[in-house]
Symmetry: C2
């Protein structure tokens, strides 16, 4: 806490509490963003196409094209989001610095820097983003997407027959979704088992819907 450290020593739990909040969460979040979609969408697409086309080659082609498109779109999207956060923070900070400080808390007003920090966090709920975060965020999201996407595609790339590749892909990916969901829940504190089940359900629903749709369309 930046305000009034002399008058008010923080209780023992508080600094730890904050540190846990603003520590490695950005990296974890980027990995989760990239891998959630990377494990789910290429898996669902490959499963869906397996129900409609008879060529492993087409499934692999579509899957890899999706991974390329998805990782670039998500990575650049993450880059712009992080860049936008940084710009938003900078412009709001300039605005607070220029505006008349309201005479609410005299103690804070005597320390202009602390006052601006206070306004940034209390009024606007903004944290100062790390410099260079946009590039790292983009790379982390894109790589996580590619890694996640190659898991369900792997059986199609090495297997010879479509049905056996499909079965192997479903089995491997369901396990991967469970493990990833569990680790995600542990890291983000939302509960290991619960997150594992949620992640599995999302992947399963997306794949099931894609499969059914492709199946219906290929019959007509």
């Amino acid at each position: 806490m930046a305000i009034n450290p002399v008058e008010a020593p923080a209780p023992p739990a508080s600094p730890h509490h904050i540190e846990k909040h603003f520590g490695s969460t950005a990296l974890v979040r980027d990995v989760v963003i990239g891998m959630s979609d990377g494990l789910t969408v290429p898996f669902a697409l490959a499963a869906g196409l397996s129900g409609a086309v008879n060529s492993v080659h087409v499934v692999v082609l579509a899957g890899l094209a999706e991974i390329a498109a998805g990782s670039i779109a998500m990575g650049l999207g993450g880059f712009l989001a992080a860049q936008g956060d940084a710009e938003h923070y900078a412009s709001e900070r300039l605005r607070e610095e220029r505006s008349e400080s309201m005479p609410v808390l005299e103690a804070l007003k005597r320390r202009p820097q602390a006052w601006v920090d206070f306004m940034m966090r209390f009024e606007l709920g903004l944290e100062e983003p790390h410099p260079g975060r946009a590039g790292r965020s983009a790379t982390t999201i894109a790589v996580s997407y590619v890694v996640g996407g190659l898991v369900p595609l792997f059986p199609y790339m090495v297997g010879s027959s479509l049905p056996s590749a499909f079965n192997a892909s479903v089995a491997i990916t369901l396990v991967a979704l469970l493990v990833f969901g569990g680790v995600k829940g542990r890291l983000t504190g939302s509960g290991t088992l619960r997150s594992a089940v949620q992640t599995l359900v999302i992947g399963g629903l997306a794949a099931g819907a894609a499969y059914l749709l492709a199946r219906l369309l290929s019959v007509h």
Copy 2:
């Protein structure tokens, strides 16, 4: 501002300033999240497959399967994110309410509710999420993804030859990316032209990479 309204009347610009921050941003953000990926990934996948397979039918199948998978994965992902925000806020709020209020700002301590609000926003940077936001968020993201994804796929669905459908899809989608990027930039305040160009570049890069990859793989 909730703190000390009697001692410190807020300057005229401040409430408006806050309201602008926490207004319709959630809805706009969800539409932007869904449509950004919806316009980009199915477009890139369809363009990529056009360079590798000779069947419009396969391109449409893969595109629709991707839309089904992507909209469900992103919609449910948005649902969990919004639900997680609400739970995180509730648990942190309970924690602040139970913890010993630090004797920093005596004026705030005399108003426990304001103190908890203060701690929620200043220490944790958390806003109270709207109830029912998770469901609305999921639907908005999913529908936006489907709407966005049908734009690049439409030419393949109505066209007969793959090359003409490909050309029409590229032309229509580049215009759609420009318009969507421009509107997005206007709504989010990041600049109409700049956002239009950025959105176009992301879509173009993703599609170009998917096309090249599929092309390379289909040659070997």
